[in-house]
Symmetry: C2
Subunit: 218 residues, 2 copies
């Protein structure tokens, strides 16, 4: 994987062989791979280690349990070679602290905002409080929507020094260049890549859209 890319690819696939094949094809030109529970349930946690042979793997587990359970889940990801883990913050500071402690060197990203319609019922009404709490716990970064630029900018402004990862790119309407311009450090795209006839071409298209913004602003 490469530090020159700001793209994290969500391998939201249920077929382990397809996930491995896609990783092999695109890993040299992306920043990281993100996987979630449905793949882990089918493949077993060993796939974290297999995918790690290609570089950074972020486990998007949206952990939301009591501190002890959060700690056990995180330790398991760490033992299997994960580079990063995504947890909820909604379950409070002790639950979040348990993830961060068990993670050690592994990066921990907190969900403080989501972008499906139901997010507005509960989680998005406390996004700024979740962010503030997560920063007190010394989180590595947060998840902020790439398709809601108002929310993204609020989180960018309040979250000085945090790494911001933004889903909602591609099929969900977000534009990678706009997300980066509005505060994302890394954009997360899934379907637009793994459902493409030419995944590597799509990766390059996103990388190039992002590069033009970064070079203009630096």
């Amino acid at each position: 994987m490469t530090d020159n890319s700001r793209l994290i690819v969500a391998l939201d696939l249920k077929v382990p062989d397809k996930a491995m094949e896609l990783a092999r094809e695109i890993h040299r030109e992306i920043f990281a791979i993100k996987i979630n529970w449905p793949l882990l349930m089918v493949a077993g946690v060993g796939i974290i280690r297999e995918l790690s042979s290609y570089g950074r793997v972020i486990c998007d587990l949206k952990i939301a349990d009591i501190p002890n359970t959060n700690s056990l889940i995180t330790s398991n990801v760490k033992e299997n070679g994960g580079w990063g883990i995504i947890t909820h913050a909604f379950t409070g500071s002790d639950s979040l602290a348990a993830v961060i402690e068990a993670a050690g060197e592994m990066k921990v990203f907190a969900v403080v905002s989501m972008s499906h319609p139901g997010s507005d019922q509960f989680i998005n009404s406390v996004s700024m409080d979740l962010l503030e709490m997560a920063m007190k716990e010394k989180i590595s970064g947060v998840i902020a929507p790439g398709n809601d630029l108002v929310m993204l900018r609020r989180i960018r402004n309040a979250g000085k020094g945090l790494m911001i990862l933004s889903p909602g790119i591609g099929v969900q309407g977000g534009n990678p260049a706009d997300a980066i311009r509005n505060g994302s450090d890394y954009v997360i795209a899934g379907r637009s890549i793994y459902n493409s006839e030419d995944p590597l071409g799509e990766v390059r298209r996103i990388n190039s859209a992002v590069s033009s913004v970064i070079h203009r602003s630096s």
Copy 2:
């Protein structure tokens, strides 16, 4: 397993053989077994099917993702023979509806309140709203703390017709008889059973404490 028991045993173990052995020992005298991610990560989801040979298995996954991911997680549990699944509600009605739809005949229980200290920062301040939303989505039941009888009674009163499962029994301070008297339908105990020298004896002790309450009130 038996309908005569109101006890759900949390097998929060990381060693699959120990979980299977304990299930074999106690399954005839309990209502259901509850398992969570740390065991599934080590054992693989196939353990849901193995444990199901002893009866009802509730997967306590505290699902908290977007609708599509929630649906995939739930389908996987269903395909492996789960009897019930535990999901969060704070990710909103569409995420919850996705679990309920994918669950089919499987029971779905929503977390509307938790009992670790951090719960009071976010989730417990919206417990009644979560409950109301979950009832609109036709949830089977909810999780309500067996060691916070005030919250338990509020949830019991507002949650007419819902099955209430209560953790926090035993090591976490809750008393099974008090929980049942205050509205729980089933109590969940873990450590007090699996860390006991005599797990079956502990199961019988809880069953008997619960029975005396039920017989007195009926």
